[in-house]
Symmetry: D2
Subunit: 378 residues, 4 copies
């Protein structure tokens, strides 16, 4: 099987997320890292390249523009680039690679403004390129099982959606020293108009979308700033999904004791499904009037679309790295099928559409909050 | 120690709640059931009286008016009456006993309308009577521990309040035969303007109030009706508490698999406290930047105000009956201190004030929902 | 319905367990407390009598012998006596009442020696009396559900039994002041030859027996004494049940952080059932190769033999008091049926047979431990 | 930093474990896979080599002897070989590489017999080579935290050890089709004298040893065979550790519903620590007479020896792959320090000593079981 080749922009400054992408992309032996501009410091750049087995050091570049240009001129140009820089540079880097005809995988959110996101989408469409977005939580195997169950009618018609994402890093930061790496998320110039909403609220939005397949229609949002912070650190949002499905979302960066505590519950008229990030391999499925069942992702009784995302036998915990692997597995499969002129695979990774949906969600929430917590169409 | 004597109106029609009150009131040997009008069917009335050891059958009455009148004329008149009828009769029965100078313990909500509630409050104040309200969840020993911890600054200043109460009985009813006993809750004529909000939303409001001591200032509510039901069965509410504390509440009667799943989380700037009704003896206390701790109510390390509500050694589960016992323990202690001219005890049971607060909360929520989900002052 | 009348010996010295029995016996309105010798201090005796609504103070006795004698001479003699004294007096008190023709409910263990237990059994048989034993854990509603499931083949043939009971009160005692009430359990003269084995090991033995219906054949036990204690505080036991079923038991009074943490798992060739005392209303049922299911005792989907032991609607936690209520419910039903010449009810409470089985178990364990951890027939 | 080079024997037949080793070894960028004999089928061998980025196909060998010989002759010989074949070939392959002067990482158990294990140890010592063994459970970051806590006296003196490992794959196999990959574990010729004891019991033994640092002195074991199986599938073992510490172990392959449910509890006279594989990032620490605390491995409040094994920020689940990474991280650090003549690092990975201890444990258990469940010195 042909293996894809990819490059990376960012990730070399000691941030954990670069390695998460690298491991995710190579998890299923479908891609190999061959080029990169991991940091603007060329010494560190080379150290990262060696650490990550980039053998041809001529493909380690001092800046992303040079990388896009030189790679696009090679016959063995990278098949895609992964962008893992802070949010404020996503748009310009993605745009540059797209314009050079190179496919992109980009961290979320894809841009600082909705307009930028729409522009990226336009280029993707024009150039018929592939743009993946790494909404992690939406990509766990158990979430795929949930979606299959919902699509097969196992909870009936959806009647309610409750999602939350409490974490505590911002409030812990107030008593602890913190790395610069995290702190850019609290700087409006780098993080954008919102902190909590664009950083983790948008994860919930994508998670709901991937888990249910339902379209968000409008939001009513209330943001809370903590002790004079310029940014929101707690968001409480009412949601309206297509077909009159109500929903509710809470995300907070001030919730002492919470470990990226994503929890989502989808209620239907024949049952419900719950998933918690603290036990990412599990679903709790409660058929109406029957005992709740604890479904483990890598058990044989699940849908194939779930088990094919599990890499270990039942009972062996997989985690965050593997969720990234699932995104790249779908993205690479799609790319390979396209290259080989094969029948398109079912897209299970978040795409530019999902990235844009995230931008629209944040935009509507900001407006709702600014206008006194009123309903705003997405 | 003098023992109080009490009577009961309602409870004799096979409803479980009558016995819950009886056991709660007698739990700590402070009161004895001596009179009652348990049902309007005199045969059943007598059967209940015998079952519950009411020895003097002349104190078993055919209707509540007769009971109030005759008891009030006795030298050994009951010290209080417990009202456990459906909601639509609370007001008139409570009013009748109050007017006859008899103290009252009443199930929540205390009336159908805010005006009725205010009228009851006026009589209570004029006659200097004691009016207890059985908000159960607010009365678990662990909640008392939480309140002490908050009052002692263990979570710092409160910055957020998240409460939920999913249950599934309404949606289960759609596939199951149900007793009349539950069904009155779905009849607007008997349950009042709302189902979910006044039945269980109001439990959450009282729980927050008792757990934090904070005053609710305004609400933004959205009600959902299920498949043409005349009443709300799912409510999602944004809350504003005094001092700018945001809050969020979700209650649902449509949540498959949920067992009266009350869960409340109070976040402060130095830690958080969580309580779940499914493990009612436990609190999860997460001091900022330290490991969460699982506090068990009947352990010696707790505040006395908590441990004195525990009747069994550490490790023995107490439950719903004991929460009722806690209400009556405080109510009876208060009454006895008053009778004996002793220093007033700290009131830890919900009173007419709490009952009225519940009515105001429901009233504001109904308005907010009717007016398109806008903020309404409580 | 005729109500039974009962008396109590012990329970009046401030021990929580007296009230647990009283509430248990009266829980379902089948019996009324009319006589007692709650303590040898007559003043306290009368205080307890008043607190517990014993109206006829002539039936409050200064010692148990007088009580047995006088009651047996009354036409309205108590129907049964409940014995809640420390272990060392169980035998003589039970014997005395039995010899006066009075039925007995006795705390476990029923005696200090196996021989005493056998003697009690002989009298019970000769006099055709009813002897109940309060093995609490075996009496939760969820355990009844488990037994029904096992009897109906839902886990197939039993292939393994794993039981544990960690608690920490002895080790906590080493750093805390303790009431005399607990301390008698550490005095060999009063507690008998063993502490952990007879106090809590025997609970596990009874729980296994009631949950599975299987007969214990032999044991291999190892006792551990803590820092020079004359008694065992940790026991580890291999078990052999009829039909070659292996089992394992661990009980400890030294397990920091454990809250009467009884946990039992029954494995069959078609599934397994697990119960934990910390969530006493729940079972976890894992059918072979299917997702585990969380069964809640008071849900409609259970066997009637379980739901008829639940007194509250689904989602309302019942606890330790109610487990006692279940013992008395079966015991009283049986007694009433016998009195009324009705068809005998299925005995679901522990009887003298179970009490004796407990004595035989302890006896065999002591021998096995003394002889160097070898197999001893029960 | 110099990167180590390694080869692999086995892993190419579609077994998941090969990739687990590869990812583990490369997780922290300390080693690179450069050679291998992944399977005896040369076509598949090459496919695996390509998938795993072995660039120099001349280092893909048809059999392990050729590999050992040719690699040992290269100037750039592999620094170590990883052996991931079925148990029956561990000894001969390990011996071959050791004799060629090549360091080894080997799956557990290291051999079929204790004698073979001792022979391997002798060669390792003579040749001063490094031999790592992949006892996974002992290598989670949280276990390292537990060990630090114990070493720092946070639970005082150890007084009891309770370990269990229920899984259900053997009993599930009886109703499901199974891959050959698992089935070799049920063939005495390939798996050795025992199934459950050597496969998973030995994991518990290593886990206890790494978590506590205590030495096992004797065992009393009882094995259960399932329905005529030639091998044990359930083992129940009493343990004696140095200093008179009692312990108990249960492992089963017949426990319906169990997902590699390793659980270990270490009790001390000042507190206890519990770890469960189903939540591998967590410890439950219960200081005597204080609330239990939930410690998460990647939180800042932990010992450095724990946090340095965490690769993601607090709240991001790491799993089984990362536990393997921890073994290789310690092994490679040790090897590099040795190469560079640096001060030896603290060995935190299981070595040949641990591998031998596992063999001695299995040997003693087999004897104990065969001789009627008597104590056997290890």
């Amino acid at each position: 099987m042909k293996k894809l080749q990819f490059g990376m922009v960012g990730g070399g400054n000691g941030a954990f997320i670069g390695n998460v992408h690298r491991r995710g992309a190579t998890e299923d032996n479908m891609a190999r890292l061959v080029a990169g501009c991991f940091t603007r410091n060329m010494d560190k750049n080379l150290v990262t390249a060696e650490a990550w087995d980039v053998d041809d050091l001529s493909r380690v570049y001092g800046n992303y523009k040079e990388m896009a240009e030189k790679e696009s001129q090679r016959e063995d140009c990278i098949d895609f680039v992964t962008i893992v820089t802070p949010t404020d540079s996503h748009y310009k880097i993605a745009k540059c690679f797209l314009e050079h005809g190179i496919n992109v995988v980009c961290d979320k959110p894809i841009s600082m403004t909705l307009e930028e996101g729409e522009e990226l989408k336009k280029i993707v469409d024009e150039k018929k390129l592939e743009f993946g977005v790494t909404y992690t939580y939406a990509s766990y195997a158990a979430i795929r099982q949930a979606r299959e169950m919902i699509d097969h009618g196992e909870i009936g018609e959806i009647i309610n959606i409750i999602a939350e994402y409490p974490q505590d890093w911002v409030i812990v930061s107030t008593v602890a020293e913190n790395s610069d790496q995290a702190m850019w998320r609290l700087d409006p110039k780098r993080a954008g108009k919102t902190a909590c909403c664009s950083d983790i609220g948008t994860h919930l939005e994508a998670l709901i979308s991937k888990m249910t397949g339902k379209k968000l229609e409008r939001v009513l949002a209330r943001f809370t700033h903590y002790k004079g912070s310029p940014l929101d650190h707690d968001i409480q949002i009412l949601l309206d999904y297509e077909g009159g499905i109500p929903g509710m979302m809470w995300a907070s960066q001030l919730a002492s004791g919470s470990d990226c505590g994503v929890k989502i519950r989808i209620y239907g008229d024949k049952g419900s499904i719950e998933w918690r990030h603290t036990s990412p391999m599990e679903l709790i499925y409660s058929p109406l009037n029957q005992p709740p069942r604890i479904i483990t992702a890598n058990r044989a009784y699940n849908y194939k679309a779930c088990t094919e995302l599990c890499r270990l036998p039942a009972g062996h915990p997989e985690g965050f790295y593997e969720a990234f692997g699932n995104i790249y597995k779908s993205y690479c499969s799609h790319l390979l099928a396209k290259y080989n002129g094969e029948k398109p695979v079912t897209l299970r990774h978040p795409t530019i559409e999902d990235g844009l949906a995230g931008m629209r969600f944040v935009d509507a929430c900001v407006k709702s909050n600014e206008q006194g917590n009123i309903w705003i169409d997405v």
